[in-house]
Symmetry: C2
Subunit: 200 residues, 2 copies
Amino acid sequence: MGKREENKQKTRQAIIDAAIKLFSEKGFDKTRVSDLAEEARIGKGTIYGYFKTKSEILLAFCEDEIEYVFNEVRIKAKQESSLLERLQTLFMAQFRYVTKNNEFGRILAREMTFPEAANKESCKGLEERYLAEISEILITAISQKELRDDVELIFIVGHFYALYLIVLSAWYDGRFQTEQEIQEALHKLLTQAMEGLSPQ
Amino acid sequence: MGKREENKQKTRQAIIDAAIKLFSEKGFDKTRVSDLAEEARIGKGTIYGYFKTKSEILLAFCEDEIEYVFNEVRIKAKQESSLLERLQTLFMAQFRYVTKNNEFGRILAREMTFPEAANKESCKGLEERYLAEISEILITAISQKELRDDVELIFIVGHFYALYLIVLSAWYDGRFQTEQEIQEALHKLLTQAMEGLSPQ
DNA sequence: CATAAAAGTTGACTACGGTCAATTTTTAAT
DNA sequence: ATTAAAAATTGACCGTAGTCAACTTTTATG
């Protein structure tokens, strides 16, 4: 009775494994959906029983990988570091991951911020995961009086996430060239957000 | 001698006119490039002598329209209104324009924040135009002591633009349903940015 | 075990964005 | 006016994402 369920899991994973291999090897655009099918030893049509679009496969694959990034960050983020440092660490880790392979980082970012109708659901899941990770940091910060506690949490989370996205966007626009520049820009923006933009 | 140049302008405009008509009538996805060609009374191949991709046509068409939005805003933005009000007016006007036709607003936003390689150039132009419009407001604000003058302007511009984008993204994710909600969210975020997120 | 319904698989097919070699039009030179 | 080079136009063609009707496998029922 678990036979069907079991096979579905296996097939799904086989597709993701094929994606990890081929997307990394040849990049997203250069990998045909039929290539993925061949690598996963299934028919091309079958893939569409598991994923609505090609980019949804990328999303699924990132959903797996992102957990590694978050874990890595949790280890680095010692209890004693300040809110700003912790945010900086998280965002830089995301940035490094996402730009390791320039091409599919951009596609991921695109889908996550302004998803196609078909990908909306998986994107929302992934975004929720991102926001949750930021939330965790902010909740600690609030309890340690490093942050205002008179605004809805979600708006603070969104605020910081927005700053990360704009820096990422600027990177893809070619406004920043080096990791160093990204780091500085992020730092300036986060500091601004903390201090406020009103005079004095 | 101006014959060639003149024709090029005419053809370019014919394509944009076709785009205005068909994108509005049938939407971006449902409009084939060959439809645009037919409407503009030219061959499909010709279009690619003027625009690198289908979405670049959308971008060009928005570049025209956006000026109307900015003008509209300038009229509303009386001299006496505060920085926050002026930003709110600008962003809400952009929001209304961009979501008037839900579909191509999303595509525009996608391309502008994380453009495909082929569209990078036109996107940058359009984004520059957006940022310039925000800059103008901020420069006035700085001279009226409504804003800190000890941070690079571009980072303040980017900060506010980021907040606009995150709200737009949240709208497309379905996190906000009404214009009212957008307005409130935007207001909260802009206020946060002014006041800062540090305790008191 | 037989069997019928449900679920899953498949590759030929469709649709469309983008390319390009062949053709036409414009310009510049004599 | 002639003509050759340059620029612009074109639609047949290509590649690939996504669909779907036919087919296979699994499950549930008696």
